[in-house]
Amino acid sequence: MLGQRDTNEQVYNRLWGGRVIDWLSGQDNEVLMEQFFIPESRAGTLLARDEEGIGVVQVNTATSRTRRVEAPNANSYRFVSDGAGQVRIMGSMPIRGATAQVGRIITHFYRQPNASAWTPMGDYDVVTRRGPYPLAIDGASNAAYIREEGADGRAQIYRMSLDGRNTRDLTVAHPQVDVDDVIRLGRRGRVVGATYATERRQAVYFDPELQRIAQQLSRALPNSPLINFVGASDDESKLLIWAGSDNDPGTYYVLDRQSRNLTRVMQARPELEGMALATVRPVTYRAADGTQIPAYLTLPPGGAQRGLPAIVMPHGGPSARDEWGFAWLAQYFANRGYAVLQPNFRGSAGYGSDWFQINGFQSWRTAIGDVNDGGRWLVSEGIANPERLAIFGWSYGGYAALQSGVVDPGLFRAVVAVAPVTDLGELRRELLESNSFASTRDFIGEGPHIAAGSPARHAATIRAPVLMFHGELDRNVRVRQSQLMRDRLRDAGRPVELVEFPALDHYLEDNAARAQMLRRSDAFLRQALGIQ
């Protein structure tokens, strides 16, 4: 057992096995890990453990010798180490009342080098995403990299000194999009850059040598404009690199910086070797209120470009966005002859707080309106045959696919929804069983949008045939949501089919199940859209 041992006397079982926060590069077999300390109940002894909450231990993974680094604390939520064994930041998310629900605010604290006292850094609200969120520590310069929404509503990354003066230097900001994260390298997690996505994902390297290598590899490797540094040897003389593009799922290489040898180690998707893959074009289209909506258009490789059967494919989340690159779902349908449009509708993350709206559930009218305008754009551009326009979505995208049929019943001639949310009230109720109910409740909100924005409550309005897939072990969206939609559509006399996968969760991580889902979706669409 790594870390605290489980005993017969502990008062509950361990579900969470802990998390490595520092790989302690240079110390063989040693790691720092967060672990949940579980108290014991023993009669007639003072030896029972009574501490509870997340703490940090240093563990030898060969001998299991364990040394406590940070005492457990009932309110602690996360710890951040400097990559050299010093825990410098603690995030605290107090448990509220007797229900043990966590709240929505994470308060971070830091400590100065070799000090034990914690200094507050500020509050981060997990619902509005406002407030400072520390990403990483740069021990060498005694600073933290922090992401926080700027005055323009877009997330930026700044460095804050951890010396008591809290000096801030803006590191990376972008006028259109959020800066998502820092780029870390190797087991030490050295911060070497920051990244954001415009039409394509971009990296800003603080390390000029890595910047040069990335640029030169991007030019030297055919059709591989996307370059990621995936890992490094401890001395950083050897780099593990991924290179790929929209129509290349990618190849991994090891670069020896001394000899300049670039050794190809493996392909990400060898099954697709030799298959014609589609290019992906960033586009924008005009929504009904005039707003320009960014999207990605994937057309069948080497075929007709106009009058095609077409699919609008809204992404999941909704706090997410699609990016330029290889996407297996869009590529499959392009391979089968469909045009695919992936809109970053309002409600998507990554474009600042105005674009995020309240979020894709509470602002569903705007989000679904943008999705449907994407379908109309495919038709007005002559790309889609209006008789052969369909919609396909997964998770929130499945919700959007169903709700699009409620808002505009004639637009899409077939609806495919994988693991969809179908009733916002039911979603709120399901979340009562989780310990993050408070924050998720606030995310979904209360009010008339719960009824108006729930496709299961308007099933009779949907005219297109509906095909759904759902894993029975889905913890993100319960299978009950799809069953409810199926029952309501049946009651309304609408054609519907639900395929359930008994052993799978939200992500359908099973090759056979995914193949079945793709094949069945294609056959369903061909029949519904009248394609030979």
């Binding site: 509950y12 063989d28 050897k238």
Partner: protein, 273 residues
């Protein structure tokens, strides 16, 4: 700017897959990415990576940089367990995060574990998980060799755990994030009644024990009764029998009676004793 030349060497590792059948694009595109995680060893000599199984399942492989044949470290065959990621703790040893998921009685739960092992698959540091209680909630006669036991979930709340009595493997199957004191199962693995003790702001148990039930088709908890421990007033569900419960309650004469109550939402009392 210094010109940097790259010398492309070696072939990609041979795909650890059977020969590709004549192209079925649903199979080709539906295949999960062949590299579920990847990590370079501290000395830069080896690459450690995860490969998904043909259906579910996953394998861990290690490849010496410059060679094409990877070596197997270990594999997980179970459908409900995944190797989420691994990284190196030395040039010979790795640490992996496993994820398991299970469902029963309309509830789904997941757990994680960290496991360390050598790259030849040996010296696995075993994980021991203790049980809080030996009280059996349901012997699951139709689901041998599993039993349901009372345990506790994260946060300290009573929960129900399904244990494989042969392997010791256990999965959280039910629980709640309020303060239930126990659950009643129907003898077929489905939890139908939950008893919840009122908790005051000071975190001390109150006098009222509320019971909730579920109908056969639903996962929703419906209020069933309120029992006052101090006055002994109010219905107290004793046991679930099929689609109904036996409930004990003090009658106006102050004597305890037992009656049967349908758990189908009708509140029907088919018979009294």
């Amino acid at each position: 700017m210094r010109r940097l030349l790259f010398i492309l060497v070696g072939l990609a590792a041979s795909a650890p897959l059977a020969a590709r059948p004549s192209v079925d694009s649903a199979i080709a595109f539906g295949a999960r990415e062949n590299v579920t995680f990847i990590a370079l060893s501290p000395d830069g000599q080896r690459v450690l990576y995860g490969v998904p199984g043909e259906t579910a399942g996953s394998r861990i492989l290690v490849l010496k940089v410059g060679q094409t044949q990877p070596r197997a470290v270990t594999r997980l065959a179970s459908e409900q367990e995944r190797i989420r990621s691994c990284d190196w703790v030395s040039n010979q040893r790795i640490l992996c995060r496993l994820h398991s998921i299970a469902g029963a009685a309309g509830m789904v739960a997941a757990g994680t574990r960290l496991v360390a092992l050598d790259i030849d698959g040996s010296n696995v540091l075993p994980l021991a998980v203790g049980l809080w209680s030996d009280e059996v909630a349901d012997f699951l006669p139709d689901d041998k060799p599993n039993v349901l036991l009372f345990g506790r979930g994260r946060g300290g709340y009573p929960a129900v755990v399904r244990v494989n009595t042969r392997t010791g493997r256990q999965v959280y199957v039910d629980g709640a994030r309020s303060t239930p004191i126990d659950f009643l199962s129907d003898g077929r693995g489905r939890i139908r009644i939950m008893r919840v003790q009122e908790v005051r702001g000071t975190d001390r148990a109150g006098r009222i024990i509320r019971s909730f039930y579920r109908t056969a088709q639903s996962t929703a908890w419906v209020p069933l009764s309120e029992y006052n421990q101090q006055t002994d007033q109010g219905p107290w569900p004793l046991v679930v029998d099929g689609d109904s419960a036996y409930v004990m309650e003090q009658n106006p004469e102050g004597r305890d009676i037992v009656y049967r109550m349908a758990l189908d939402g009708s509140g029907r009392r088919p018979s009294a004793l």
